[in-house]
Symmetry: C2
Subunit: 451 residues, 2 copies
């Protein structure tokens, strides 16, 4: 999480000069690059997608309401520690090709170009970078999943022969893929753009078309992951929905997380991203929910137990929001991951303590406490055992299903169900016994396998 690809030498030119008329209709004067999408503006999202792919040097080309966009770009650069220069394009009205030309004087190496209004799942940008690493001539990312493009009529299509682009344009037929708006250019693009501009076509596609006619453009097919072009309010809504969906299930998750919690956490995340709450705050909220649940369990009454059960499940859901918000706002940090892991364990401790305490009101003697201690040991050790195992053997015990069986989301869900039927103690003890057995089984399995 949050690991960066190796440093990219080539700079990235972000085209952010257009007026974005169709989107602007609803938002009055707000320049398109400043359109908020799940907590980040289009411009910040574009920049950070590239940062996550390893890019370190940026040119942001501005035009319409250039000062406003420039100020925002510089603010993002300062806050996120980016090496960023703003380039003014006075000819922006002639088309986005002029924005690339505006950056011409500053560029001495091959360079990447992407559009501010294209939203990518970050792994897609990274995939493009990985595939073009080392190339120096024009290469463009294309998506062969044409039926999945949101507004196909408006998309730029490409015709391919092998990996070579043989035609490009909105109206060409036949075509095998769609232009994704991710390019690697060599210096030859400037000449091509000038020529296209002289013929009255100031668009980037115009310049690329000239290189295509010279057989100089290669395509990289990216067939996995979400991306879209945001031109209209409908497109924006679609982008938000898809981005949330792909962030919410982009990582290995437990069954309950995936099939139950995600529906709720996604809804909450969509609201949380617009607040100033950081992922670390959200982790702490989940912790507080669990501790409150533990306190209510400790009272040991029917009504409070039900409420406690709901709080525990809520903690599990909010814990999922942590990762979603972190990924959506590019705020994953090693500290955050560590903080999250530790708070989860303390939260488990609070829940076990509360449930055991609550049960001890009606069942005197030491044995509820002994079972409570063993449950706590089980809950912490099952994570610990997995971590130590993975460190030593490079994979998880009992594979993926074995991992999911012992995930926290399932554990908390069983406790939630136990609370709903007013048997949280027995639900907890059952999960604990199964967890201890699971650890024993993992030890035994591996023992057999060794010489």
């Amino acid at each position: 999480m949050g690991e960066k690809a190796p440093f990219l030498d080539y700079p990235v030119v972000i085209l952010a000069a257009g007026e974005g008329t169709r989107l602007r209709r609803e938002r009055d004067d707000l320049p398109k690059p400043l359109t908020p999408v799940l907590g980040l503006t289009l411009l910040e999202r574009a920049l950070l997608s590239w940062v996550e792919a390893g890019a370190r040097r940026f040119y942001v080309v501005v035009g319409w309401k250039g000062d406003w966009v420039a100020t925002h770009a510089r603010e993002v650069a300062r806050r996120r520690s980016l090496d960023l220069e703003v380039v003014d394009n006075p000819h922006w009205e002639e088309g986005n090709g002029t924005s690339v030309l505006a950056a011409r004087d500053r560029i001495t190496s091959p360079f990447f170009v992407s559009m501010v209004d294209h939203i990518f799942q970050p792994s897609l940008v990274d995939g493009f970078v990985q595939q073009v690493m080392g190339k120096t001539s024009t290469t463009m990312a294309v998506d062969p999943r044409v039926t999945k493009v949101f507004d196909l009529a408006d998309a730029t299509k490409v015709r391919l022969e092998g990996d070579r682009v043989v035609d490009i344009g909105k109206g060409i037929l036949p075509y095998q893929a769609v232009d994704m708006g991710l390019f690697l250019f060599g210096p030859e693009i400037f000449q091509a753009l000038e020529e296209a501009r002289c013929r009255g076509d100031g668009s980037l596609t115009g310049g690329v078309k000239r290189l295509v006619s010279q057989g100089k453009v290669e395509a990289v097919r990216l067939e996995e992951g979400f991306w879209t072009d945001v031109d209209t309010p409908q497109g924006l809504e679609y982008a938000k929905k898809e981005l949330l969906a792909c962030v919410a299930c982009s990582r290995d998750e437990g069954w309950i997380s995936r099939h139950l919690n995600r529906h709720l956490s996604r809804w909450i995340t969509a609201r949380l991203v617009s607040t100033p709450l950081t992922p670390n705050h959200i982790t702490f909220m989940a912790f507080l929910l669990a501790v409150t649940g533990g306190c209510l369990f400790a009272l040991g009454k029917l009504g409070t137990t039900l409420l406690a059960a709901l709080l525990v499940q809520a903690a599990s859901v909010v814990d999922g929001c942590y990762g979603e918000v972190a990924r959506l706002k590019f705020m994953s940090t090693p500290w955050g991951a560590w903080w999250d892991t530790l708070l989860d364990r303390y939260a488990d401790g609070a829940i076990v303590l509360g449930i055991t305490w609550g049960y001890s009101h009606s069942h005197r003697g030491t044995w509820p406490w002994i079972l409570g201690l063993l449950s706590l040991l089980a809950f912490v050790l099952v994570s610990y055992a997995k971590k130590e195992y993975a460190l030593r053997f490079g994979h998880l015990p009992h594979g993926d299903a074995g991992d999911k069986l012992t995930r926290r989301d399932l554990r908390l869900f069983v406790i939630f169900l136990g609370g709903v039927v007013n048997r949280p103690f027995w639900a907890m003890v059952t999960v604990a016994i199964l967890s201890h057995l699971w650890i024993g089984w993992a030890l035994w399995e591996k023992r057999k396998g060794k010489v």
Copy 2:
């Protein structure tokens, strides 16, 4: 632990043909390579030191009582899955140079040579291999710590000019270092050995001396770690003592382990290595001691508490034997390390449970149990937090001292002291509170450090 260096292409020739008269006096007919040293014969120890340095192909040259030694060599090879061939040297009485010549026909590349009666801390062999990697001509390991050599009079000395050996022999003067009996040879050694043999010197030193006179021998200085040549019963005793000492403090350890437990564990280890008990059995013994201690604590009487305290400290000592035996007998495995870590956590659980239970006899109510639960959480989480921290930041929180402060050896020692003064519960709770504070401190420190 137990990680192997990359595969070594060059074979290793182990010279095991001599009669070892001086050592044999006490042992009747036992051939020298079969002399047991802390649980392994000299031959098995020599082979495994090389295996740990990455070697995979062996020639063992036998002579005196060759069948007996050959049988043992093959048995070791089968048990440890080594690629090993036995080479018979009918001329062994002429000197150990003839043993290298006996392997001549099988060798097509540069090769390593070491003596069966030289005992090395394995890191030394590894150090030699690392330094000669890629060389093809004769290189020998020398030790410049001449004052530390056990039987200097009997040692082969070398005179050096820079890294070049200019003279070699038992009686030369002056000399700067001592021959350690680790060689990398190219094919030129065979010719040199033949020539020396013709002149009546069948020793390996004779052959090396000829190469030295041609200026063809380089030296690699190894200045750290224990090694010795075992020729006499006194030398054997010295070797055992030093090997135990260097194995018992070769790794990062807690303060109590190092300054208290080691004196006891070393004594126990010296006895355990000769039994068929594996390191994994020893871990389990330590676990049983801790669990028995926990049970005795649970009785809550003065006498049993004292006994329990002693058992807990004994568990801590025996836990140290695990690593010592594993290293001495080359039996470290990933499974063993995992098993040890998990059993330690379960043992801690048993101790906390026992102490809390014992205390609850005289102090009714829920609060002893609440403190018990929080103590268990502290003991497991402090290890967990360190592991997760190291994974994310690549070092331990609060550095080396911070690590030692929260090691299990110190924790168990405080509980032992608490038990001795009949206050195990408060000793446990104190350590637990400090552990929780330590975790909080680590979180806070790192939080401050981040942007």
